[in-house]
């Protein structure tokens, strides 16, 4: 089962109304290397992975859902006071026509979330290397958004998220090593 705690993993602040920045951030909400894709990818891989990695996949999946909530909070704070003119200026008018001031799982180009963003090969090594690549892609995406952002308060939260991708990548690399030891001992497979 799942239990929701009514607080963010890390505090989120925005210096000013900035719908343009929200448009970039949506990439990490419903984009190919975003937090929704990450959470769903790891949750779904748990059923064909050796027992010693299930706990890691579960906990990282849960953390990705809390990252997803942080991104949503950022988008909310950046857009809640936006006027129609500011929305148009930010290039968010197509989003507004379809979703009003609500959020939607889409990428920065407005393409809706797609399950093909997620791989699930049912092979422990293939899946873990997929996960390592996903973390590196998410890290790069956070860097690109930070490069475009001029909001120091928001960047604090984005830098936290960028660092978490690095840590997750490290833990997945260690999981690969643990499985390789078992390959050698012919314990699994």
């Amino acid at each position: 089962m799942f239990v929701y705690e009514k607080k963010l993993l890390y505090p989120v602040k925005a210096s000013s109304c900035n719908p343009k920045l929200a448009k970039y951030l949506i990439e990490q909400y419903g984009g190919s290397d975003g937090e929704l894709a990450a959470a769903l990818r790891y949750m779904n891989q748990r059923y064909a992975i050796p027992d010693k990695v299930i706990g890691l996949l579960t906990d990282i999946a849960m953390e990705e859902f809390s990252h997803l909530e942080m991104i949503a909070a950022m988008v909310f704070k950046l857009t809640k006071d936006a006027t129609p003119d500011q929305i148009k200026e930010a290039g968010l008018e197509a989003h507004y026509v379809n979703h009003g001031s609500g959020l939607y799982y889409e990428n920065a180009g407005g393409v809706p979330f797609n399950a093909s963003y997620i791989a699930g090969k049912g092979d422990p090594i293939a899946d873990l290397f997929e996960d390592i690549a996903a973390e590196e892609k998410a890290r790069a995406t956070y860097q690109y958004i930070i490069d475009l952002s001029d909001d120091p308060d928001l960047n604090d939260g984005l830098k936290f998220l960028r660092e978490r991708e690095i840590v997750h990548g490290q833990r997945f690399r260690e999981a690969v090593e643990l499985l390789k030891e078992d390959y050698g001992a012919k314990k699994v497979f």
């Binding site: 239990v3 009514k6 607080k7 890390y10 706990g55 890691l56 909070a73 840590v167 833990r171």
Partner: protein, 86 residues
């Protein structure tokens, strides 16, 4: 709804810091199960967390289900601001 005081926000941030330490230690322990020092740190942090959570709930109301409602709050869950509204 009224925004919380600076003191209340500080208490919440302290809980967020402890909980983040627990998240990080849990991930580390998955791949380093033999590290007794990290396990000790995890258990000590989890104990500190229990006490601090009570202080946060006194300010913000209940933050998690399946636990008694915060004393003095009727609904506890939906009366107060949500994380993105703070």
């Amino acid at each position: 709804m009224k925004q919380p005081t600076a003191k209340a926000m500080k208490t919440l941030e302290e809980l967020q810091a402890l909980d983040f330490a627990l998240v990080e230690l849990r991930l580390y322990l998955h791949t380093h199960p033999e590290d007794t020092e990290a396990l000790k740190q995890y258990n000590e942090t989890a104990e500190q967390r229990t006490e601090l959570k009570g202080q946060v709930e006194a300010e913000f109301g209940s933050i998690a289900p399946n636990e008694p409602f915060t004393p003095g709050k009727t609904a506890g869950w939906s009366d107060d601001l949500w994380p993105w509204q703070l």
